[in-house]
């Protein structure tokens, strides 16, 4: 039961984007389409799970004073893994996401989970926590990407269902801020009802 909670809290109740408002840069920068949002979310999830596992494995051996730099090195190693793998197998997606792949290193969500959860809990709990948080993040990115793609270019996963361009504003920068503002407001309402 407790383990299930470690996993499920990241999905809705403590959702990284809608509730904690962490990791905003990739959220806004990469969600021009549902596919890009999904790709970015899964890349971050991989880094999050792997860094959580390693951090919780070495948590008893790292002196307290140097723990933040050590966490950053661990995270940066996995980001490099993702970067090189993506470049080799998904070059088109890699081009689209561009700068935001190396920037997973400074995603406050990843370091936040390492510091707040993985450095205090067992490997198994940390894995579930990373997976839950990562999937919650992916879900939010996917929703935002879908909204922006449907409104902005009238398509979903590249499948066009209206003629012409749609509201271009939503693909451009201001649309990202506006779409996210309204998604958070809707989630606020939903969460308050549940509570």
């Amino acid at each position: 039961m407790n383990q299930w909670k470690n996993f499920s809290k990241g999905l809705i109740a403590e959702n990284a984007i809608f509730v904690q408002v962490l990791g905003m840069c990739p959220t806004l920068g990469t969600t021009t389409s549902a596919y890009n949002g999904l790709g970015m979310g899964l890349a971050t999830t991989f880094v999050l799970v792997m860094s959580n596992i390693v951090v919780s494995m070495v948590r008893n051996y790292i002196p307290d004073k140097v723990r933040i730099p050590s966490f950053i090195v661990i995270i940066a190693s996995f980001v490099t893994v993702v970067e090189l793998t993506m470049q080799a197998y998904l070059p088109a997606l890699f081009e689209e996401l561009g700068l935001f792949i190396p920037l997973i290193v400074v995603n406050c969500l990843v370091l936040g989970r390492a510091e707040a959860f993985a450095s205090k809990n067992t490997i198994w709990s940390s894995t579930l926590d990373g997976l839950g948080m990562g999937l919650g993040f992916t879900l939010a990115l996917f929703m935002l990407g879908s909204v922006r793609e449907i409104l902005g270019s009238g398509s979903w996963f590249g499948l066009k269902f209206i003629q012409g361009d749609g509201m271009l504003l939503f693909v451009l920068a201001p649309g990202a801020f506006l779409a996210l503002a309204y998604l958070i407001a809707i989630m606020n309402k939903f969460n308050r009802k549940n509570a």
Partner: protein, 190 residues
């Protein structure tokens, strides 16, 4: 002339926050008061220019000759983290007043993606060293401009009745969206 183009482009046309979506966390986090925004801008400008110079030299004189390009991400983030730490220690000794003003913002800068972002963009943009310095400094100015604008508006928003669900973060994002729209007016300037 060349430098002027870089300056205008980095501040207005490709504003780091409103057009490139970097540094959103401090943008949202510290923008509720005007005073803290100014302090944050000072700290970011300082670290950003220093970090760009150091990472630039590392990339061209260490990583490239040794064929270690794939180590870029790890090296840069470590350099930035160490630099922030060093700046903090030096400031504390040399200029306690400045440390008082910028101190609390410094630790936050390590995870400010704008700093790492600019370091990588400098390499990707193939700037030479003086251009890189101008680019990083003007990017920091652009960050400051966006931050000061948003925090002034948010201070004024305190006195307005905002719908319940939109309070706090959502309304700040709406304001940022409108600001981004305004900044799109600069497109095509250079």
């Amino acid at each position: 002339m060349e430098y002027f183009v870089i300056l205008i482009s980095a501040i207005f046309v490709n504003n780091i926050v409103l057009a490139k979506f970097l540094g959103i966390c401090p943008f949202m986090g510290v923008s509720s008061r005007l005073e803290t925004s100014v302090g944050m801008t000072g700290a970011v400008a300082f670290v950003m220019v220093l970090a760009t110079i150091v990472t630039y030299l590392l990339q061209y004189y260490v990583l490239n000759p040794l064929g270690l390009g794939f180590m870029q991400t790890i090296t840069f983030i470590l350099v930035i983290a160490a630099l922030v730490q060093m700046v903090e220690i030096v400031l504390k000794k040399v200029s306690p007043e400045l440390y008082q003003a910028l101190g609390i913002f410094l630790p936050l800068i390590t995870t400010n993606c704008a700093v790492l972002g600019v370091a990588i963009l400098t390499i990707q943009g193939k700037y030479n060293l003086p251009e890189a310095v101008v680019f990083s400094f003007s990017t920091a100015l652009g960050f400051g401009l966006a931050l000061v604008l948003l925090s002034s508006i948010r201070e004024a928003l305190d006195m307005v009745e905002v719908p319940k669900g939109m309070k706090g973060i959502p309304i700040a994002f709406v304001v940022a969206g409108i600001l981004a729209m305004a900044f799109m007016g600069f497109a095509g300037l250079v």
